[in-house]
């Protein structure tokens, strides 16, 4: 079956989703969701291994040779993204079983898992495909199910948040499909590798440039780049905990991947950084995102919202790496996709544990939890330190490459902004840590340590964000290879 790895990647959750919808038993559906997620990770790792061994893996769906048919095409870049999504899915899905039972009505749980699996399918489908229209199709799958998942949060505000995301997300998707359409009109092809060959002939046309713009804006809406981030904070704050953890660690990451794919593989680095001056467009946006959103995060009183704003700021780091327009910068971007997924996942999951016990993510509710829920808060501390970028955590590794990339380009102020923003991160993380550890507990005794079903997955990510901070060699090597692939255009 190893020949079919690329398609199996998507097939596992895709087949499991309708089965979940057919099931009546929440337990069976949950077990199936976990199994499918684990299968996803296994396939992703196998794929990464194969890409390492043989280079690009291409799979012609329906036996139609690309560009006639749809091609699945995996190189270092998407193998890496697939591993990120697979990792998060396989950690979050067991967490989901424990957390969803308290947040979602029992009868709806099988459907909830179906939606989760569909969302996973969509994200993986975007990452694995080598066909631009196929990207759009799977983008729709992931988006629709993500809206539904977010709406499952408790309280009415989850509904408005989901609706807002739906509107902005649909606009983004429309922009992307317009861009794809224009590209098709100009080249007659939908295959990415094919497009990369055909596009240079028509680089000069206005249509291609407009297509570039539409794709860019569409992707930036999806990845919540400032100032197109407005949907994100509420969506993350009001969604069920497990959904927040999952989406925060995967959805925006895949959107970033989409942007990289469109801009660097299809259009190519020379066009993006040369003709379109992408680096100069993105740099100010990234810097403003980093600085302003970190400041906004400092002001939040709801910790989930705080983390959500921090996510927008972190997306700024990711985009900043891209705007450095160098292998080092892109290494930082790709590393941070993984590293941020680990730490933000751990943070949101720790918050989920808190919400599970005390029903609130307000910062005042954290008082004294350092003693009442020591493991939960310790996981939060680890994730928080990583967010700040303390050495020996994953956050440090990506920040290192980001600063190195900035200095290599001689952009000193950029390096300084990155460092100062880490201090803002320190401020907002430390507010929570100090409240949890230094203030006495004032609640009514509900706050006891979270059940192992929640705690274990949380700690897997927390531990991983230390492990990959201490032994970052393999992740850095992979990210660097992927960055080279991106800079060189079509992977070979």
């Amino acid at each position: 079956m190893s020949d079919h790895l690329p398609v199996l990647q998507v097939l596992a959750p895709l087949l499991a989703a309708p089965v979940c919808a057919l099931l009546r038993s929440a337990r069976a559906a949950g077990a199936l969701a976990v199994l499918a997620s684990w299968a996803t990770l296994a396939v992703a790792l196998a794929l990464l291994g194969e890409v390492r061994a043989v280079g690009v893996v291409s799979y012609a769906i329906g036996d139609w040779v690309p560009p006639i048919g749809i091609e699945y095409r995996v190189d270092m870049v998407n193998a890496w993204v697939l591993v990120i999504v697979g990792t998060i899915a396989s950690v979050v899905s067991p967490y989901m079983i424990a957390s969803v039972s308290s947040e979602v009505e029992r009868r709806r749980i099988p459907l909830f898992y179906a939606a989760y699996l569909l969302c996973l399918t969509g994200l993986l489908g975007i990452a694995v495909t080598g066909d631009v229209f196929n990207v759009f199709v799977f983008l729709e799958i992931s988006s629709l199910s993500a809206y539904a998942l977010i709406a499952m949060g408790t309280g009415r505000r989850a509904l408005t948040a989901a609706f807002r995301y739906l509107v902005m997300g649909s606009v983004g998707a429309t922009f992307i499909v317009i861009g794809i359409g224009l590209l098709y009109v100009m080249t007659g092809s939908l295959n990415m590798a094919d497009l990369a060959v055909l596009l240079p002939e028509v680089w000069d046309s206005r249509t291609v440039k407009v297509a570039y713009g539409f794709l860019g804006v569409g992707c930036c809406l999806k990845l919540a780049l400032f100032p197109l981030h407005l949907w994100l904070p509420n969506a993350y704050a009001f969604a069920p905990s497990a959904v927040t953890a999952f989406l925060a660690s995967t959805a925006t990451k895949v959107a970033v991947y989409m942007l990289l794919r469109f801009f660097l593989t299809i259009f190519g680095a020379p066009f993006s950084f040369g003709t379109m001056a992408l680096d100069r467009v993105l740099l100010p946006l990234a810097l403003v995102a980093i600085a302003s959103m970190s400041m906004v995060a400092v002001l939040q009183v709801d910790v989930k919202r705080l983390l959500a704003y921090s996510s927008v700021a972190q997306i700024g780091y990711v985009v900043l790496g891209l705007s450095l327009a160098s292998v080092t910068g892109l290494t930082a971007t790709l590393l941070h996709l993984f590293n941020h997924a680990l730490m933000k996942g751990a943070l949101f999951m720790a918050m989920g544990c808190v919400v599970y016990r005390i029903g609130s993510a307000h910062i005042d509710a954290m008082a004294g939890l350092g003693r009442r829920m020591p493991w939960t808060m310790a996981a939060f501390l680890v994730g928080g330190l990583s967010l700040v970028g303390v050495p020996l955590t994953v956050g440090f590794v990506s920040k290192w490459y980001l600063i190195l990339g900035a200095i290599e380009r001689g952009w000193w102020p950029v390096a300084v902004v990155v460092l100062l923003a880490s201090l803002l991160a320190l401020v907002y993380v430390w507010r929570v840590v100090e409240t949890a550890y230094m203030r006495p507990y004032e609640g009514d005794g509900r706050a006891v340590e979270a059940p192992p079903g929640l705690l274990l997955p949380t700690w897997v990510l927390a531990a991983a964000s230390i492990y990959f901070g201490v032994f970052a060699k393999s992740t850095v090597a992979t990210a660097e290879q992927a960055a080279r692939v991106l800079m060189s255009g079509v992977g070979s």
């Binding site: 330190l385 700040v388 970028g389 303390v390 050495p391 020996l392 440090f396 590794v397 290192w400 490459y401 600063i403 190195l404 200095i407 290599e408 390096a415 300084v416 460092l419 100062l420 880490s422 201090l423 320190l426 430390w430 100090e434 550890y437 230094m438 901070g469 201490v470 032994f471 970052a472 060699k473 850095v476 090597a477």
Partner: protein, 491 residues
């Protein structure tokens, strides 16, 4: 060996946590670990003084940048001081914490052990990255100690403490490190430095400035605020901060950067450190002046530390063999002098509950041992021969004269006078004037009751006071130990 020097305190911390139900066993474990650690550091010293450079690679988080331990003279010196004073401080802590009935004692010993482990990491850091890692760990592990009381005041102080230390280290030190890596392609500490020929012109003083201010633990003004703020901590913690680990880690890091990253020769050639000698000089004088105005004993001692630390920074910035050697020696001698003073301050608080200098009239009668130790410590810090402090001061003075900086020599002299002015009145007040409440003309009340601190405290503080005297024989040895690094640099 090197690995053990890190693992041992961590293991100690674990056993402390495991033994939390039995205070006696817990403290025994603490003491035992401290003793064992000192023994290990002694063996490392033996190997290094024989010319060895044992090293150990732990991990390689980022390709080309590893966490590596390597023992070299400067580090061994720092490790010796820290591990030895850990034993004494543990003894003192037992008396102090029990005498004061402090809460959360397990947490206290636990993080103390972690802090020592971090300090060992700083001491034996084989490259800048490792130094940075353990430097940050040291900030984080000492945070719970500084905020031990848990009051709103302690929380505020903790915020200042962590805020300044992490801010400077992330904003300046990390930037300097990445910069160094970008130009030199390595972060290893090397004899003679790694930057020579890689940077030039105005970049050199700027980079050096980033390092000196980035190492906030060295408390160069205006980044010294955290040190007085951290005075809310229990006294043994203050001892840890001022003498054993934290500030010493700071000035130690400055020395290391000077010697192994820039290289003395390169610095001297580039003249990059001149402006920083004046910053250090200003800190020396201003710190002393502020100390004069403080009535609170611990605050006065804190500013004294700020001032004294800049001696070491000054030594480093002079970029000469004598300067570096004197700075290194000053780490040791000041550690002993200042820890004596802090132990005394703590003892006075435990026994008499007095914190202000003006309350200490006649205290010499009820606490003769403590005040005698205080006198010794004070004299040592002032630099009166034959006490330990005189040796390092002498070297530093020599270094300033050597480099022809008469003004800097004058700074040292003035500072010494200021030291006298803010330290000596305390023992004088204690011994020569009458206790409060006693009427001026009243005769001796016959039985002045001795009211000393708990025995553990007394033992510890007498020990370090004696150390101040004994060290005169060793200070030269420390200087000798440092000779090879400076000499090889051709200074």
């Amino acid at each position: 060996m090197l690995g053990l020097s890190l693992a041992l305190p961590v293991a100690g911390a674990v056993s402390i946590a495991l033994l939390r139900r039995s205070p006696n066993a817990r403290e025994a474990a603490s003491l035992l670990t401290a003793g064992a650690l000192f023994a290990i550091v002694l063996r490392i010293y033996a190997s290094v003084s024989g010319g060895g450079r044992p090293s150990l690679a732990l991990a390689e988080p980022i390709p080309g940048i590893s966490v590596t331990l390597e023992a070299e003279p400067l580090g061994v010196l720092f490790a010796l001081v820290a591990s030895f004073l850990w034993i004494v401080t543990t003894m003192y802590s037992i008396g102090y914490m029990r005498g004061n009935r402090e809460s959360n004692q397990t947490r206290y010993y636990l993080f103390f052990a972690f802090a020592i482990a971090s300090a060992m990491g700083v001491a034996f850091a084989g490259n800048l990255f490792t130094l940075f890692v353990f430097y940050e760990l040291l900030s984080l592990t000492t945070f719970p100690l500084v905020t031990h009381a848990g009051t709103a005041k302690a929380r505020r102080a903790g915020r200042v403490y962590l805020g300044i230390l992490l801010t400077t280290s992330i904003a300046f030190l990390l930037l300097a490190i990445v910069w160094t890596y970008a130009v030199a392609g390595t972060l290893d500490f090397r004899q003679g430095g790694i930057l020579a020929g890689e940077v030039a012109g105005a970049a050199v003083p700027v980079l050096l400035g980033l390092y000196v201010f980035g190492i906030g633990k060295a408390a160069v003004m205006p980044l010294h605020r955290w040190l007085p703020a951290a005075m809310v901590a229990p006294t043994p913690v203050s001892a840890l901060l001022h003498a054993v680990a934290v500030v010493k880690a700071g000035v130690f890091a400055v020395l290391k950067v000077t010697v192994y990253v820039f290289g003395i020769d390169f610095l001297a050639e580039a003249g990059a450190s001149a402006w920083l000698t004046w910053v250090a000089a200003a800190t020396i004088i201003l710190g002393s002046l502020v100390a004069l105005t403080k009535d609170n004993l611990k605050a006065r001692l804190a500013y004294s530390t700020v001032s004294q630390l800049s001696y070491v920074v000054l030594g480093a910035m002079l970029a000469s063999t004598l300067g570096v050697g004197g700075g290194g020696a000053h780490i040791v001698t000041h550690a002993f002098g200042k820890i004596t003073l802090f132990f005394c301050a703590g003892a006075i608080y435990v026994a008499a509950h007095k914190t202000e200098v003006s309350q200490m009239r006649g205290l010499g009668r009820t606490m003769p041992v403590t005040m005698a130790a205080f006198l010794i410590g004070a004299l040592s810090v002032v630099g009166v021969p034959p006490l330990a402090g005189s040796v390092s001061k002498w070297y530093l003075l020599g270094a300033t004269l050597d480099s022809g900086q008469i003004a800097l020599a004058a700074v040292l002299v003035v500072s010494t006078l200021l030291n006298v002015a803010y330290l000596l009145p305390i023992p004088i007040l204690a011994f020569l004037s009458k206790p409060e409440g006693e009427t001026a003309g009243g005769g001796p009340q016959g039985g002045t009751v001795l009211n000393e601190a708990p025995a553990w405290c007394l033992i510890a503080l007498s020990f370090v006071a004696l150390g101040c005297i004994a060290l005169i024989f060793w200070a030269d040895r420390a200087f000798q130990l440092l000779q090879p690094i400076a000499a090889a640099a051709g200074g």
